[in-house]
Symmetry: C2
DNA sequence: GCAGCGCCTTGACCTGCATCAAGAAATGGC
DNA sequence: GCCATTTCTTGATGCAGGTCAAGGCGCTGC
């Protein structure tokens, strides 16, 4: 069985995190991030501390925008708690969900972040969320001070690339029903926490079609 | 105008290369690779020499396979000359072109290369080709000896990620005709050098449909 | 020169999903 | 608890692109 690959990141367990006491707050915020990093590269205790210092915590309410179309994306965001989505609005006015990000995933507009050009995406919260932001200057400095992070980000990029390539081939070769059943098999938590019409948008089908597909599936 | 981003790489000029005399062979083989690297990171003269030593030249005839489905992908390949494609065959027996690679582009199955799992892709040559292969152990050693290459590959990955994300959104929001006109606008050389039915496969449409679209377009 | 094959075109018909329209359920604010 | 809004369902109809089938054109090899 192949290990799962997630766009821009991996999915870490958060069970412990949610139960932990309030005075642990500071630690638990970074715990998920550090375990994500540790899964891919070895950092010394000091490097981890340095790392932490470059991130800015941020809270977001449901529906609140983190990034708006035509703004420059000045950060990449690590999701500590909640769900975010990035989406575009095409020439015909249709929204297309590009990515969901749950706990332990990264989200941003890479293109805008890297080039400084205005973004073509919007990013907002589908649930109240807690994030750790890494700004462009912070990232540049972090990579200088902790070169191992260069490797971490390369691995992230490669994993997302692979996941995205699969999604693309899937979008070309599967029927709407197959796309949906693949999704709920691969990311059952998304299917449960995200409204159906958002999932439809992610899959590139209409909410009506998804509704009919679900009806079909339950009747079997 | 946005700089173009190419899946897994960039497109470098090869005009000079093709005109150069035979005794320059050795140099011209690496020239394109080095200029690709220099565009993204600064290497010392020594580092460039070290870099070269890790690559293995390889020639491929038209239709020859570089990687076969279910083999492990032991390399990433830089295209010096010619055109390659990677493709999958889905459950219904349909081929899907995942990527084309022209001069100056990289091609491989990243997933298989990174994890050592058997590949789900095939890679073959659409024209006689000249490649530079970087094996997994060679890459690991290269990254140790020339850490700047870590950055080069991260940038490559990020660029491909961005390009792939656009392609995905495009595959969801554009009509077949829009997808085709986008392709010939973005990569006119692909449209000219690659047979139509391969392009149709890349776009996720049938050759018959592409033929009809082209007829429509010329009649306007 | 022509046989054979790969590639492209054209026509007739079919189908999966979109579109449009109208309610029904669920959710949330106060 | 009740109204507003958001989300989901269902039905009727349309169309982009797929499928199947046949034929043409231009290589390449002998």
């Amino acid at each position: 069985m192949r290990p799962q690959l997630h766009p821009l990141s991996f999915k870490g367990s958060i069970d412990k995190l949610q139960q932990s006491a309030p005075y642990m707050k500071e630690d638990t915020t970074f715990q998920l991030l550090l375990s994500s990093i540790n899964e891919k590269v070895r950092l010394t205790e000091t490097e981890m501390q340095v790392c932490k210092s470059f991130f800015t915590p941020k809270k977001l309410l449901k529906k609140q925008l983190l990034l708006q179309h035509q703004e420059v994306c000045h950060f990449i965001a690590f999701v500590v708690q909640g769900i975010l989505r990035s989406y575009t609005v095409d020439a015909k006015g249709n929204e297309h969900v590009v990515q969901f990000a749950l706990e332990g995933w990264w989200i941003s507009d890479n293109y805008s972040f890297l080039t400084g050009e205005p973004s073509t995406y919007n990013i907002d919260a589908l649930e109240d969320a807690e994030l750790l932001l890494l700004s462009r200057p912070a990232m540049d400095e972090l990579l200088l001070k902790v070169p191992a992070m260069e490797r971490y980000f390369r691995i992230l990029m490669q994993n997302s690339l692979v996941a995205l390539q699969r999604r693309l081939v899937g979008s070309l070769s599967y029927t709407a029903e197959e796309k949906y059943t693949n999704l709920i098999r691969t990311y059952p938590d998304i299917a449960q926490r995200v409204p159906q019409h958002q999932i439809a948008s992610y899959l590139g089908i209409k909410p009506e079609t998804l509704s009919r597909i679900r009806k079909q599936l339950t009747s079997r």
